[in-house]
């Protein structure tokens, strides 16, 4: 077991607390770099979506996880980024320019949303961001001269410095990976800077932060702007990956999916965004796999336990009928959310930490280490 002796503040905020981190993350990065040569094209495509969702997840973590401002409107920011890219592309603006422009515009709009949000907390903020997202969705559908309304917009193939980058190419994957890694490193640096500390202070107690001299309004708006800008960058990549965008892609459903990303991953660490993104993106292929292969497997099991051929076939068709029921995916989604909230509120990353601690402290691990405090005194209303 390794003990880290921290003797000053610089030790406490190191990006890599010890050399082990460099090795593990180095190996991970190397694996991600050679992934295009190892994985099938379908899995690569899913991996690109993981990168995009994880980028949005990091953005949402800055706002929700670290500043404590819940948002159910991030699909709108993603949409603004995507539409800015698609619109500027029509006028042959080069990729780096519209990429940055999309981020800047989304950041600006994020700040504008942040101002009204200053006075709102908790449930009022949630409904304000939902309203914002619904209004944006309606604008996208109606402002036909720019967005082509419900017909949607075609996004041309990405061309970077004169080289075309098709959406299935490894280069596009590297681009998404680079954006994700830069976002994560940037966010880590942000979080150990005074700005990040101010965010966390606001999350823990607004009043206490204010009395320590934190300009709450300024930092809240900053948090909104940064989070929105990162989501805007992700939106550009999202548009290129899908190659076609229309308003009904950016619904409340998508915003909820982003919240689920950080909820399932864990809201207290950037690891959570990545783990949650992997979970959300991979659940689709996994369910398809279950749907296709499960009936056969179950019938096989039934046959080995002595069921006749007719019975096994009967079971197989019944399971297949159940698996192809309409809306089964939604039900599974719902159950997953509820189970995570009830049994693993710290998310996948929390589970990983628990497992790690279990082995580090073996046999002295105790469950109570991660137990949350319940507060029965009315808190939110009088805060």
């Amino acid at each position: 077991m390794r003990f880290l002796f921290k003797t000053d503040y610089e030790d406490d905020i190191k990006l890599f607390p010890h050399s082990g981190y460099v090795v593990t993350y180095g190996v991970l990065l190397a694996l991600l770099l050679i992934a295009p040569y190892l994985l099938s094209s379908y899995l690569m495509s899913q991996l690109v979506f993981v990168c995009i969702y994880a980028t949005v997840g990091v953005a949402l973590l800055i706002l929700t996880g670290f500043t404590g401002q819940a948002s159910l409107g991030h699909a709108a920011f993603l949409a603004i980024g995507a539409y800015t890219a698609a619109y500027l592309q029509k006028y042959n603006v080069p990729f780096p320019v519209y990429f940055l422009a999309a981020g800047a515009l989304t950041g600006l709009i994020g700040a504008m949303v942040g101002f009204p949000a200053l006075r709102l907390t908790g449930i009022y903020l949630v409904i304000a961001t939902i309203s914002f997202a619904l209004i944006v969705e309606e604008i996208l559908a109606r402002w036909e001269s720019v967005t082509h309304g419900n017909e949607g917009m075609r996004v041309k193939t990405l061309s970077l410095l004169g080289v075309t980058v098709p959406r299935d190419s490894p280069t596009f994957y590297y681009l998404c990976l680079a954006v994700l890694v830069l976002t994560i490193v940037g966010t880590l640096n942000l979080l150990r800077s005074p700005t990040g500390r101010a965010f966390v202070a606001i999350r823990d107690s607004e009043t206490a932060a204010r009395s320590m001299g934190v300009n709450v309004a300024l930092y809240k708006v900053k948090s909104f702007a940064i989070s929105a800008a990162i989501t805007g960058f992700a939106g550009v990549l999202f548009a290129h990956k899908l190659s076609f965008i229309s308003p009904e892609m950016f619904t409340l459903q998508l915003s909820i999916e982003f919240i689920i990303v950080i909820l399932i991953g864990g809201t207290f660490s950037l690891h959570g965004a990545v783990l949650g993104a992997i979970f959300i993106v991979m659940i689709d292929p996994f369910l398809t796999y279950l749907k296709d292969d499960m009936p056969g497997i179950i019938a096989g099991i039934a046959a080995t336990f002595g069921a006749g051929t007719a019975t096994a076939g009967n079971i197989q068709s019944k399971v297949a009928a159940f698996a192809s029921l309409n809306g089964l995916k939604g039900a599974i989604y719902g159950i997953i959310i509820v189970l995570f909230v009830l049994f693993e509120p710290l998310g996948l990353y929390g589970r990983w930490l628990k497992i790690k601690l279990f082995f580090q402290l073996f046999p002295l691990y105790k469950r109570a280490t991660f137990k949350r405090q319940k507060i029965y005194v009315k808190s939110e209303r009088n805060r």
């Binding site: 449930i123 949630v126 409904i127 809306g327 039900a331 989604y333 509820v338 009088n382």
Partner: protein
């Protein structure tokens, strides 16, 4: 002028449905400070129960109505026991996510059981109109308005005049203190969920003649009822109904007088404006902040 009154009445009727759903939000929030995002889906489920009793089993409308309300009250208690009670006392965000998950689940299950078609029930209010001069008022809309008024008054009296209502308000202020004072907090919360599911069912059944019932109706109307509750100031029973009526009237006026597309956004624009000027909503209590 006649058009205006006509629109006003249909807006008020629609608004009353929003108000009824919003009442459910407010009840749960008032008693437990939990925001139940599945409220719209409870309404949808109530509508489907009523359809099963009345449309499929052929029961009398009123018996079917009562049966649906009773069944949903029970369902509300079960949902509270399974999903909400284990996380009472945790941050609000967790509870919101849990109820969103519950909503997803209910929507899919309802879609599986009753299919995805639009369903309809024959009610005593389905046909017939009331004529006042040249003004034509449909019974189905009037029935919604009347029921909302009755329910709102009953609930208001219940919360402010009865012992159980007082116990609910006490446990919403401070669960621990309420428990020390001898209030069975768990049972109180359970009852609140039952009442709110029952109110949602009333909304669902009254809604059936106006719009059809299908598995997504809860999400659509819930998203309108939620601003209604916020507009009235979360936690105020008359506020919920006033907010609902406001949203309904704004929506129907915008649909009639403004260009296409405004109908769906106008309520949210008004909501954002109100929140900007009065962050606690119209009837919300202004509370002092404590560290």
């Amino acid at each position: 002028m006649l058009d205006f009154v006509q629109q006003l009445v249909s807006g008020v009727a629609l608004g009353c449905v929003y108000g009824l759903i919003a009442l459910g939000f407010v009840l749960v929030y008032k008693a437990t400070e939990v925001v139940n995002f599945a409220q719209g889906d409870l309404m949808m489920l109530g509508g489907f129960f009523a359809f099963t009793f009345i449309g499929m089993m052929g029961l009398n409308y009123w018996i079917g109505f009562a049966g649906a309300v009773a069944a949903m009250a029970l369902f509300g208690m079960v949902a509270e026991r399974v999903v909400v009670r284990p996380i009472l006392g945790y941050p609000q965000f967790s509870i919101i996510m849990a109820t969103i998950g519950l909503g997803y689940f209910l929507r899919s299950i309802a879609g599986m059981i009753w299919g995805t078609d639009d369903l309809k029930i024959e009610t005593p209010f389905s046909q017939g109109v009331l004529r006042i001069g040249s003004l034509v008022l449909a019974y189905d809309k009037l029935s919604v308005i009347a029921a909302t008024m009755i329910l709102c008054t009953l609930l208001y009296l219940f919360f402010n005049k009865t012992t159980l209502g007082t116990a609910m308000r006490a446990s919403s202020e401070n669960m621990l203190a309420a428990y020390y004072m001898g209030i069975p907090v768990k049972r109180v919360v359970s009852i609140v969920w039952a009442i709110s599911a029952a109110v949602a069912t009333c909304a669902g059944v009254l809604l059936v003649p106006i719009t059809f019932i299908h598995s997504n109706v809860g999400l659509v109307l819930g998203l309108k009822a939620f601003p209604a509750a916020v507009l009235g100031g979360f936690g105020s029973i008359p506020g919920a109904v006033v907010g609902g009526v406001l949203i309904g009237v704004i929506e129907s006026m915008a649909g009639f007088y403004l260009a296409e597309g405004w109908k769906d956004v106008a309520p949210y624009i008004v909501l954002l404006t109100v929140l900007l000027l009065k962050p606690e909503g119209l009837f919300g209590l202004h509370v002092r902040k404590k560290v």
